[in-house]
Amino acid sequence: MADNKFAAYICSGCGIGDVLNVGALEKIAQKEGKMAIVKNHPFLCNAEGVQLIKDDIANEGVTHLCIAACSRRAKAEAFSFPTVAVSRANLREGVLWVIAEGADHDEVRQEMAEDYVRMGCAEVKKMTLPGGNLKESSSKRILVVGGGMSGMTAALAAADAGYETVVVEKSGELGGFANKLLKRVPFSGPYAEPQPTGAANMTARVSHHPLIKVHLNSTLAETAGAPGRFNAKIAQESGAVAEELVGAIVQATGFTTYDIAKLPELGGGQANVVDQAGLEAMAKAANGGAIKRADGKEVKSVVFVQCAGQRDASGVHLPYCSGHCCATSIKQAMYFKDQNPDVDTVVIYQDLRVPGMGEDFYRSAQQKGVIFTKGKAGRVTGGDNCKVEFRDLILDEDTSAEADLVVLATGQVPSAGVNLDDWTATVTAAESGDETAKAKKIELQKTSVLNLTYRQGPDVPQFKYGFADSHFICFPYETRRTGIYAAGPVRRPMDMLQAQEDATGAALKAIQAVENAARGRAAHPRAWDLSFPKARLEGCTQCKRCTVECPFGAIDEDEKRFPLFNEERCRRCGTCMGACPVRVISFENYSCDTVGSQIKAVNIPDEFEEKPRILILACENDAYPALDMAGIQRITYSAYVRAIPVRCLGSVNTIWITDALNSGYDGVMMMGCKKGDDYQCHFVKGSEMAHYRMSKIGDTLKQLGLEPERVQTQEVAITDNARVARLIDEYVAQINEIGLSPMKGFG
């Protein structure tokens, strides 16, 4: 390529020049790296150093540059050259700060630095500057599914920020569950009294907002497209279908209450045993007067049974705590006490959980004379004189309480639509001709909320217990469908205040999504990224692994059954690239070649030198920062490792492992985020996929005549800086014990 001009810049600042032989590094970049321009500078990230690079780009026509200085995570602003491809060789955090001081280590330290320069030069030669994915028109409208408190909050937040918003509500009015409530728990000091729900005010604001369009009695018949270009078909009551072009979606479809009929042992279905929603209806009917039972009798005593059908270890009912019900029962007990202090109100609880400032609300109820009894209800009998048998957990005895009315605090069941695992299994069975599966598929489709036309199914993937999956710690609103954000109890059980905070966050994420889509960039966590996967379809074998494994459902199939990439849905994790057995998927700046060439660029000493070489493939989100931080804290580790950051462990293609072992590496260490139910993987499934793929690599190793220990997968958190150094040293010791690879010299 005649137009490409490669240059390498080696920084000797931060002590690099004192410890490393920079001259030798320059020679490596020139001779082995084949860089046309090689320069060193004592302070590359200062204005003068940066200007030196800028001048070369402007005057010498440099198109690709390798900066051998600090970690790619440092000085990102100084070394930002958006018009050229840039690779970084990590001499400071990767060599200088982590290899023990002293002349004893001079040789291995220099070898390590030289390898990193070779790798940086090799990588940049395979990179091209990402062109971005700028679309001519991109919608910045936001669709909110669900018109309850979460949905209305999200709509108002987005509209107040200047974004046109469309609300789709299944029922005939806005307000959702809040409409069923007499009052809500307090959100602000002194947290002592129940407050008006505010649903009417919000409904009015939403209805009259110039930027909000509301579709009542409507559902989503079909949602097609991707961030910036979702096409939502909205089925209206009349049978008409309205089409809305939107850029992002907030799913605020809320919850339903756990069916009280499933709790016969707690009196579900019997007279004068109601759930919290039932009590709200009674309180609304009383309209400030004495609360009366269905038979017209005034309630003089009431028992609230907490955790009814919740926190159930038996596996029959909900296993989780819904979070709001303790405060809700407190509020409802106050309905009675505020009307008539002589009404006996007893709350039987196992652990009174009142998040936020609920403790003050709890205290207020105690002041009003609500009795709180720590106990576990066993059996409830309804009827004219209800009886609650329970175990008193403080006095450790079986006892009972009688009351005119029993209120069961049942939990929230998310309305997240179709369970995709169920869906996939049904579709697979239906495709093989199973008639019941075909019927079931139609039934499932009817329960779908979003009706996405995605290959991976019609709704967002669910996590435990049917809640919409999201990265709980780092990006709670991100579902596994880019541009679709879950807010409120559909995401996890919560109360109204939390739901409203949630909705505000989701609205902001939706705004980010439409803005990123309009700029042709990825969504979080690679929001700056202009690259996107490109497939060389002529090499594709239609194995479908990319379409199945993409954690974000970004890849559909075209009519010829080739993968069809929806770039706007892509998070740029590269899981498809790692999955592809024929390696036809690549990014402009990250591909099987960019990493593969780095692996091959490392100089492998022959076995008589007794210097093992261990490849580290480290997730750039957690493991690579942990390695950097080990350096910042001057925690030393072995100089025999060569670390390459990867976008996600899911992007690791097994060819890299085979290449590394074939070319004489003695071991491969992969470091990714925690997988499983409490995953920390930034791309949800990437780390899990990598672990799964590596569990299958044993056969390959056997074919090569290698020990299984030569490939190791580790879970590393961003805080593991000391541990990561220890893991490396332990692995080097282990490799030394099993001996160097017999593959050296054949690569």
Binding site: Q366, Q367, G369, T373, K374, L395
Partner: protein, 206 residues
């Protein structure tokens, strides 16, 4: 059964919590307990009580009147104030314990022969007589509270201490006859009677 007890039973029926709120010193705090158990864990005498403060509060809410007032647990409180200091809900637990003990005593439901109760009674009777505590008479009354034989044994066991106190002039043997008194005994007695009248009226024990 004392009349006070009969009255209380008639007035509060089964609502013992209300009875405690009305009649026990700081009793209105009982409903504020959140059952964390920090008091039970903090009490240096915890393992020796049948009912920790946490349990007593729960029993009050559960309406276990006889068991609470008949318990000897609150009599075991040494007023170390650990529970008060640690209670996250700021309940004056020590005061409530003494309040409960006092109320149980007034209704004569407190356990018979409970040493703390006996000593407290002896102390009060001694004090109320002259307006001054007669230490010699108080000690002797304590020694002999369980009968003459036991009294002699107690006195012999404490002989060395007694002689030491005599030598150091901390104990006046002449106190056995009358002893020192305050100037206006009848005034003191009137004061005590008036205080009691006010207190009883307040607690509905009159």
């Amino acid at each position: 059964m004392t009349t006070a007890n009969q009255n209380a039973l008639a007035k509060y029926k089964n609502n013992f919590l209300k009875e405690v709120e009305a009649n026990v010193e700081d009793g209105h705090w009982v409903k504020m307990c959140m059952q964390c158990g920090v008091c039970a864990g903090s009490c240096p005498l915890g393992p020796h009580w049948e009912h920790s403060p946490q349990k007593l509060f729960m029993m009050i809410r559960a309406g276990k009147r006889e068991e609470v007032l008949g318990s000897d647990s609150m009599w075991m409180c040494t007023s170390c104030y650990n529970c008060i200091v640690r209670c996250p809900r700021k309940l004056p637990i020590t005061h409530i314990m003494h309040g409960l003990a006092n109320y149980a005593h007034r209704l004569d439901l407190a356990p018979k022969g409970q040493p703390t109760r006996d000593i407290a009674k002896l102390f009060w009777d001694n004090l109320a007589k002259t307006g001054r505590v007669n230490e010699l008479k108080f000690s002797l009354a304590m020694y002999f509270k369980d009968g003459f034989g036991q009294g002699v044994k107690n006195a012999m066991a404490m002989q060395a201490t007694g002689l030491g106190l005599l030598k150091a002039k901390r104990l006046n043997p002449m106190e056995i006859i009358g002893g020192h008194k305050c100037k206006d005994i009848s005034g003191i007695k009137k004061m005590i009677a008036k205080a009691r009248e006010i207190e009883d009226r307040r607690r509905g024990l009159a």
